[in-house]
Amino acid sequence: MRNAFADELTKLGDDDARVVMLSGDIGNRLFDKFKDKHPSRFLNCGVAEQNMMGVAAGMAMSGLRPVAYTITPFVTTRCLEQIRTDACYHNVPVTVVSVGAGLAYAGLGPTHHACEDISFLRSIPNMSVICPGDPWEVRAALRAVMKQDGPCYIRMGKKGEPNIHKAMPADFTIGKAITIEDGSDVCILSTGNILPEAVEAGHILKSHGISARVVSFHTVKPLDTACLAEAFGKFRLVATVEEHSLIGGLGSAVAEWVVDNEVHPKAFLRFGTPDIFYKLAGEQEYAREQLGLTGHQIADRILKKLA
């Protein structure tokens, strides 16, 4: 995802002189092309995220389109007040882009995990929260964000995620979920970098004779309520899937919507990380398995629920 981000940002920077890239001393060589082409619009802000976010807000107040980028916890929770007060309260187009959603940096330990960021950021007024499901959605999200005028958060995985889409989704709209595979029995709403596991779960369900719709629910805020109304109206079971805490993420947002709209789900499962700091060594795949977030585990739990 991060290579797609750097590449697409360079293209956007070519076309739009307002685009400024702020890096929290990360992405060694990743932005070389951007730097070469637009040296005055690339700023390494060092390991000082509060300042980086305030600087981004000041730039956005002055008509620029700053993108502030570093590892997820440091570009979200470390500078949460600057995001809230400087970017969101002023309602200016600061784009916060994070790398390492959820357990993408599992091996680096809980300091680098990010399972709370959606929760914090979606509670801030004016903020949009977008969790692309594959590299194509990263590109599309970035383009969509540059066309609107408020603060946005784009939550990326890391690198090497498979492409789920075959090309950039042409009609990508902030707040409008994308159906990846259609089905009729269960509806899996997946947000962010865990999308490949959700797709795999869909395939496994199919092999058990269960027809699954798999949706890339890339925007957690604003919620695609039309998609939710259809999902809860039409399917025997709705599941939310995210590499984020069960507290405050997509599952919570959908549960809030369910309660507020007096929807009575036939069956509703939430997949996400538990309320713990996950301390064991090992990479993302291993961590997902320990926490019940692989495609197989998701499919198994859905099958049990349907049984």
């Binding site: 060092g46 305030g54 981004a56 807000a57 730039m59």
Partner: protein
């Protein structure tokens, strides 16, 4: 009307008279609203007078003019002093100052975002104004504009790490179009500044962080006006003015008495204070 960008010599008497008027007004406002932070307002009135009546290139009729100089009240708790300044300059009617802290009004205890003309940034949480100002100064550089950015910080605000992040970053970027003024009144909310987090030697700290840092009498309107107008000053560095001030300045029974960080004056005290300021 566009202020003349500090090109003429500052008129000391006129600036001092403006500062006294500002003090008189914030004392009235604090009393009427029962609002805190009066002493913090009084210590920075000379800086505001020098900035808005001599230094800044601004047009109150066009608050969004792209090439204006920016003044950020990073010590947002001195909002009353900023409101009085903006009203006197004509950003909004002076009569609106009577609505300070009143239900439904635009003049809350800290400056709001996107609500009141002339407020460049909503402040109140300390340590935010300077990074925002650095972003604005960099934006001017990127846009090829020549306007300047001023940020007024409290001394207690220098406790915040984000101030020093911004200081190092601005110096690393060799930003010449930004000036910090520290209202060094030696008090923070509940204690002497230097007995809380050690700020001294404050000028040396800013200098060590790469700024062209100078100490200045924060109540000498002429010196303030001249120093603030000299930006960029050819040093190749951002400028920090460590302005030595007295909290509660201008009113004998408030000066250097930290109770006035929170206390609001009675009607009787307002009359007494106005007399001392030569406003009666």
């Amino acid at each position: 009307m566009v202020v003349a960008n500090g090109k003429n010599a500052p008129d000391k008497a006129a600036l001092a008279a403006v500062a006294a008027r500002l003090r008189g007004k914030v004392i009235e406002m604090s009393s009427a609203a029962g609002a805190a932070h009066l002493a913090s307002c009084l210590s920075c009135c000379d800086v505001l007078a020098a900035a808005y009546w001599h230094v800044l290139s601004i047009d109150p009729k066009k608050p969004d003019w792209a090439d204006r100089d920016r003044f950020i009240l990073s010590k947002g708790h001195a909002a009353a002093a900023l409101y009085a300044t903006l009203a006197f300059k004509g950003y909004f009617p002076e009569a609106e100052l009577a609505t300070y802290c009143q239900d439904g009004g635009r003049l809350a205890e800290h400056p709001p975002a996107n609500l009141l003309p002339g407020v460049e940034a909503a402040t109140g949480s300390l340590g935010h104004g300077l990074p925002i100002g650095v972003g604005m100064a960099l934006a001017a550089r990127i846009h090829g504009q020549s306007h300047r950015v001023y940020a007024l910080l409290s001394d207690g605000e220098n406790n915040e790490g984000s101030v020093w992040e911004a200081a190092m970053f601005a110096a690393g970027q060799k930003l010449e179009n930004i000036c910090v003024i520290v209202d060094y009144n030696k008090w923070q909310a509940t204690a002497r500044s230097n007995e809380t987090l050690m700020l001294a030697p404050l000028r040396d700290k800013w200098a060590a962080f790469g700024w062209d840092a100078r100490e200045i009498d924060g109540h000498d309107v002429e010196a303030l006006a001249a120093a603030m107008a000299d930006l960029p000053n050819g040093s190749g560095k951002p400028v920090a003015l460590i302005a030595h001030t007295v909290k509660g300045k201008g009113v004998s029974f408030m000066e250097d008495d930290n109770n006035w960080h929170y206390r609001a004056p009675t009607a009787e005290e307002v009359v007494k204070a106005h007399k001392e300021l030569g406003l009666a």
